[in-house]
């Protein structure tokens, strides 16, 4: 029997920060000390704290080592595994803790989280079904198999679970429609085509706990009377797909998938469809078209998939996170537990991907109703480099930005929508005072324009014109009536676009205008970008009060625009300066400021 268990994060995030090398080093080191029999090494799913990866958690001691490099391994093995003492220097350290922290309960990043969907991520070996079972896996399924379809649907309805993919439609209701729809064949489809920039919650769930998704889909199938399902996963998620395939194979082996499942005469078959990564395929009707081998384009609803979905058959389609919630609700006593969490209108937890100018980037799962402030400052550790929080973009390209004054907004479907954003799939992009909101809107719109399926006129042509206006504004060519233009176009698109993506794609623009109108006006009327992003709308200058003449800026400047003697104030020549910003990063005094472009007029008098 093993004495120690080294759970090393093998999810995409940590892999990219080098966990594979660390794993290799561990293998060698363990072999060197003949510890293979004593110590078990597992590549787990994502424990969320990508910022500090690669991560290893050692059980049973529950010690959390982070930022590991291969060269740390000998010491780790030496001290911890052989010597039994904790390696302080590899523990988590940060401004938010006074002493190096050991684990969940002591690391602030984890303190306010509530693990439902991520309950197994980082804790079990996602390629071993037994570990899932021992954590209570497939209990919900075997319970559901004993229930009537309508009983299952009732519990899902009573749980108040709403779709985690974006719109937040009540899942139980969706199932009921599909159950009641007539059809000789019905399908269960999982939308794993996570397309929002910066979002990776679905990937982490699939990589960390694939069986949870399978179990959720199996229960859905039992409820609506389906015998076949599709998981539409983007091809950019090879690891997720590999783990899904393994999981399906193991589940078949155990009799959870296939013919006469667990002897209840219930059959179910999984298919995995790899998506080509078109953003629009995240829209359900486009996704279904894509599975059918057609071009991924949305079609009008009604008919909704519940009545006419895949190949015209009644179809339940939910996203990964939604399905991962199902086993928790359906297992013995799960429902009661589930409804305790969250708010009236939004039950349970939500997984968010923290990105942008936030200290602790990564994945977190929080109870609905928690405030943005808690997520960003307590869990996220606040803004990088102690700068000033400006806004957070919630819900990706379909979402909107929320400004500082709304930081105490409770995170639930309805409050977010009121604030002009959406829950979306759970991307949170945090912005500091160096983010230009006009440029942000431009960025999201260029994304939606590029990804528009091109079918309906408002989206195809409208987003193009909005984008062109925003580009003009950021280049200093904005006109006084541009804001009205933008708002008019936006409302047309919202009101008349064909699909959900189209109808929501103006949100980033509308919300930035709503909360940061002055920035737009400054761009248009004063030709000034105070965030120092729109290059033709500002100059850099060095504040003599702060400059100590260290010459670091002059040395880093690629175009030699900065002059000045040692220990003397330096000067930037705006004619030469390309506003690359490298000097700003370089300056320890924060002496390099953004200022209005000096025009001939100003010079003359």
């Amino acid at each position: 029997m093993y004495e120690k268990h080294l759970m090393i994060c093998g999810a995409t995030g940590c892999l990219s920060s080098g966990s594979a090398k660390v794993h290799q080093a561990l293998v060698e080191e363990l072999a060197k000390h003949k510890l293979e029999k004593k110590c078990r090494l597992v590549m787990t799913g994502c424990p969320g704290f990508c910022e500090v990866g690669p991560i290893i958690v050692i059980y049973p001691d529950e010690v959390f080592y982070c930022r590991l490099k291969p060269q740390d391994i000998p010491e780790l093995v030496e001290k911890h595994l052989l010597g039994g003492e904790i390696v302080e220097r590899l523990l988590y350290k940060g401004p938010d803790v006074d002493a190096p922290a050991r684990f969940y309960d002591t690391i602030p990043f984890y303190r306010k989280q509530k693990f439902n969907v991520l309950r197994n991520s980082g804790i079990i070996d996602p390629e071993n079904i037994d570990e899932y079972i021992m954590r209570g896996g497939y209990r919900a399924l075997s319970r559901a198999l004993k229930m009537e379809p309508m009983e299952i649907i009732d519990e899902v309805k009573r749980s108040g679970l709403r779709g985690r993919g974006g719109a937040g439609f009540p899942t139980g209701l969706k199932w009921e429609f599909t159950y009641k729809a007539v059809g000789d064949k019905k399908y269960v489809v999982c939308n794993a085509d996570e397309g929002d920039p910066g979002a990776f919650m679905d990937r982490s769930i699939l990589e960390g706990d694939p069986h949870a998704v399978l179990e959720g889909m199996l229960i859905a199938a039992r409820a609506i009377g389906s015998d076949e399902g599709y998981i539409y996963c983007r091809a950019e998620y090879p690891l997720a797909i590999k783990r899904l395939k393994t999981a399906i194979a193991q589940a078949e082996e155990y009799g959870f998938v296939g013919e006469n499942i667990l002897g209840y005469g219930f059959n179910f078959k999984f298919n995995i469809k790899e998506g080509a990564g078109a953003f629009v395929c995240g829209e359900e009707t486009a996704l279904l078209a894509s599975i059918e081998g057609k071009r991924g384009m949305p079609r009008p609803r009604p008919p909704f998939p519940a009545t006419s979905g895949l190949w015209g058959k009644p179809t339940v389609i939910n996203n990964v996170e939604t399905y991962a919630n199902i086993p928790l609700i359906l297992r013995e006593g799960g429902l009661e537990e589930f409804v305790k969490i969250g708010t009236e209108g939004s039950k349970g937890t939500k997984v968010f991907a923290l990105a942008g100018k936030i200290r602790n980037t990564g994945l977190c799962e929080v109870p609905m109703g928690i405030t943005l402030r808690e997520i960003i400052f307590d869990i996220g550790g606040g803004i990088k480099g102690g700068r000033e929080f400006k806004a957070v973009q919630a819900g990706g390209p379909s979402g909107g930005c929320i400004p500082a004054e709304k930081l105490d907004l409770p995170v639930d479907y309805d409050s977010l929508t009121q604030a002009g954003a959406i829950m979306g799939s759970g991307g949170l992009v945090v912005m500091d005072d160096r983010t230009c909101m006009v440029d942000l809107a431009r960025y999201f719109l260029s994304f939606t324009q590029k990804e528009s399926c091109g079918k309906c006129i408002p989206c195809r042509e409208g987003t193009k014109r909005m984008l062109e206006i925003l580009e003009r504004i950021t280049e200093g060519l904005g006109k006084p009536d541009d804001l009205d233009r933008l708002q008019e176009l936006a409302s047309t698109i919202k009101d008349s676009a064909l699909c959900g993506l189209g109808q929501t794609c103006p949100n980033p623009v509308l919300s930035t205008i709503r909360y940061f109108r002055h920035e737009y006006e400054e761009h248009i009327n004063e030709k000034f970008c105070r965030s120092g992003v729109c290059k033709s709308l500002f100059d850099y200058f060095i504040d003599p009060e702060l400059c100590n003449g260290c010459t670091r800026c002059a040395r880093i400047c690629p175009v030699g625009a900065i002059s000045g003697e040692r220990k003397e104030t330096h000067v930037i020549d705006p004619e030469i300066c390309t506003r690359c910003g490298s000097c700003v990063e370089r300056c320890r005094q924060e002496a390099i400021k953004v200022t209005r472009v000096r025009r001939e007029a100003d010079v003359n008098h």
Partner: protein, 59 residues
């Protein structure tokens, strides 16, 4: 594939061809289909061994 919960005795005949309704339950609180002290003990031993703390299961 190698399976963690092996049949506790010849009475257990779960397989994908002959599936047992109580298989999942049996994995964690088995055996269900018959009373047998030694089988129960076998199971308990495994469970105790693997269920190390509420975060964690060991194999």
């Amino acid at each position: 594939m190698k399976r963690f919960i092996d049949p506790c005795c010849e009475k257990c005949n779960h397989s994908k061809e002959t599936p047992c309704k109580d298989f999942v339950e049996c994995c964690t609180n088995g055996p269900i289909c018959h009373e047998d002290a030694s089988c129960a003990a076998k199971r308990k031993a495994i469970i105790d061994r693997v269920a190390l703390n509420e975060h964690f299961v060991i194999f």
